[in-house]
């Protein structure tokens, strides 16, 4: 009787737990099936061409891929220095009593829903970028020979640059949390040895702590990439969603893969159009799996020797 109950309980737990890999398999399978007509029709040119024409039924997601790459790269370039800087300050320099509370406050940023970032971006950030930031960038960096091209064209506000900025704000908390965990995992003896040799705090941090923590910080940045490129609503509201041409300027309205799905999903009026949209989801799925796997391997290596836990 007891043994039967035990077996039934174990089976029930196993069945519920198996729902997790089954769901993942179902997601992958269904998306591959639905994307297949588009995959076989357009092949690899789907990723490199930029003609997206629902009337002639020719689909190339190149512009969406480009928009995603540009906004994600910008987000990481902007967010990593701030997040890593704040994490270093909060683990190594800040008054001990402030460390926990201030970290908690910054991590609250992660609780703000994507749509609220979108609303704030649309009504506050976009006008600010259009009237202040972008003209200022144009007047300074825009005059430089090669980089200047990035800042050419009329400052519209609804563009790739603003998309990158909003994404940077959104990935800040995860970057900060991971970096903090990794820095806290560095053995105190690393710091103490340097300080004992007469190093200043920053010298100890830069030469004994950061090298030790580097794989974990890189892992955190990769995790930030994973968050940024699949982010939908906030980017959709600020990135412009109009241009389908690739130009070198950050001031051009763009489109990201996720926002293309959100905007066009309900408009698909033919099977091939629908399939082409699902193929975007397929690309996101594959990249997500690859990027997350790399990030977790890096972070795990940095946290090795420390009990499991942490934010990731």
């Amino acid at each position: 009787m007891t043994r039967a109950t035990d077996r039934a309980f174990a089976a029930g737990v196993a069945a519920l737990a198996m729902l997790v890999p089954l769901t993942l398999a179902a997601i992958a399978l269904l998306i591959v099936i639905d994307a297949w007509p588009s995959v076989t029709t357009f092949g690899l040119s789907y990723l490199t061409t930029t003609v997206w024409d629902p009337v002639k039924l020719v689909f190339g997601a190149g512009a969406y891929v480009y928009g995603t790459l540009v906004t994600t790269t910008l987000a990481v370039l902007l967010a990593v220095p701030v997040a890593v800087g704040a994490a270093i300050y909060l683990t190594e320099f800040a008054p001990r009593r402030l460390r926990g509370p201030v970290s908690y406050v910054i991590e609250l940023l992660a609780y703000i829903p994507s749509i609220v970032y979108g609303l704030w971006g649309f009504f506050i950030l976009v006008p600010l970028m259009r009237s202040q930031v972008e003209p200022a960038l144009q007047a300074t960096l825009g005059r430089l020979p090669v980089i200047g091209r990035l800042f050419s064209g009329p400052p519209v506000g609804l563009d790739l640059l603003t998309g990158g900025v909003i994404l940077a704000i959104m990935i800040l908390p995860i970057l900060l949390a991971v970096t903090r965990e990794v820095l806290l995992a560095v053995p105190p003896t690393q710091r103490e040895a340097m300080i004992g040799l007469g190093a200043t705090r920053w010298e100890a941090v830069s030469r004994a702590v950061l090298p030790y923590a580097r794989p974990g910080i890189v892992g955190g940045a990769v995790l930030g990439v994973a968050r940024a490129f699949g982010e939908t609503m906030a980017v959709t509201l600020v990135v412009g969603n109009s241009s389908r041409e690739i130009s070198g300027s950050l001031f051009t309205p763009g489109y990201t893969m996720a926002s293309a799905i959100a905007n066009q999903f309900t408009e698909a009026d033919s099977d091939l159009y629908f399939s082409a949209i699902v193929e975007i989801a397929l690309v996101l799925l594959l990249v997500a799996i690859a990027v997350n796997t790399v990030a977790r391997l890096l972070i795990r290596r940095a946290m090795a020797g420390r009990p499991a836990g942490a934010v990731v």
Partner: protein
């Protein structure tokens, strides 16, 4: 300065040391300042965004805003009643699905050392956690909205949210289960308790605070999801508790108000954001309190 400290005749070495240490001190000061700036900037971003939501959202809030349904443009008043009901209902249903599955996955991984299977469950949960939420939306649309249910429905949205929540619950519960001392399990087993009793009566009650934390964390994370709901529940201007019909939700309501060209609706979008942030804030506060209990 260092010459003054030694008090002796300054030697050439002391002078050299003085120069180096001044440079090092300057570097130290500059770096600390830069790091402080990064910290202040991060905090300022949070304060700014929340400040705008409160400042622009407060004028929209009154009793009607919570109880009325959205009115067509031109009619005064109107609120987010259906969206509030929808969000709470979606949270209840998605939680009812995701919390048992997540806890079971954690028990499976920690309590039944099933080797390769456990690793598979764990890895799958990590990968699902890393999926963009819109991909989950596309899947649920293709699976439920198109095939099983046949149209947009609250239930489809709840399942999409549940898929997003399961990995959060599983991972957090896994952590707390690992904190339960082995001696407790061994004591119970030695007394002749069967495994299922050990799990349900000894391990889970010991980890209760952590399990609650996991559930609350998952609910807080999923309450603001918009993209998957856009493809599954669609939104609704009317009160509806029918899970098989399109359903309103706060994030969808914000989107609809925000993209409309009317100032009044924009104010309502800020108001709705404030309501959503308050809902999530209360949940996060509960979370913080639960965590503090766990530490004690």
């Amino acid at each position: 300065m260092s010459a003054a400290v030694t008090g002796a005749v300054p030697s050439p070495f002391a002078a050299a040391r003085h120069r180096v240490s001044a440079r090092r001190r300057a570097v130290e000061r500059i770096v600390t300042t830069l790091l402080l700036v990064a910290t202040v900037l991060s905090v300022a971003l949070l304060v700014t965004i929340l400040g705008y939501v409160i400042q622009r959202g407060l004028p929209a809030l009154d009793l009607d805003f919570f109880t009325q349904r959205p009115k067509p443009f031109g009619e005064a008043g109107g609120g987010v009643g259906p969206a509030l009901v929808g969000t709470l209902l979606l949270a209840a249903v998605s939680g009812a699905i995701a919390i048992p599955v997540g806890i079971a996955a954690a028990i499976f991984v920690v309590e039944y050392h099933s080797g390769r299977f456990a690793a598979t469950v764990r890895f799958a949960a990590e990968l699902i956690a890393g999926l963009p939420s819109i991909v989950v939306g596309v899947f649920v649309w293709a699976f439920l909205v198109r095939s099983v249910i046949g149209h947009y429905a609250g239930l489809a949205g709840a399942i999409a949210l549940a898929i997003i929540m399961v990995p959060i619950v599983a991972r957090t519960v896994e952590e707390v289960l690992r904190l339960v001392p082995h001696s407790l399990r061994e004591a119970a087993l030695a007394l002749g308790a069967p495994r299922w009793r050990v799990v349900l009566r000894v391990v889970l009650p010991t980890a209760r605070a952590g399990v609650v934390t996991a559930a609350v964390l998952a609910l807080a994370r999923s309450a603001g999801e918009t993209a998957p709901l856009l493809l599954t529940t669609l939104g609704n201007q009317f009160f509806s508790t029918d899970l098989l019909q399109p359903m309103a939700a706060l994030p969808l309501q914000i989107y609809q108000y925000a993209v409309a060209p009317y100032d009044d609706w924009h104010t309502k979008a800020w108001g709705t954001s404030l309501v959503l942030v308050i809902v999530i804030g209360l949940v996060a506060l509960a979370l913080r309190l639960a965590m503090r209990d766990r530490v004690r």
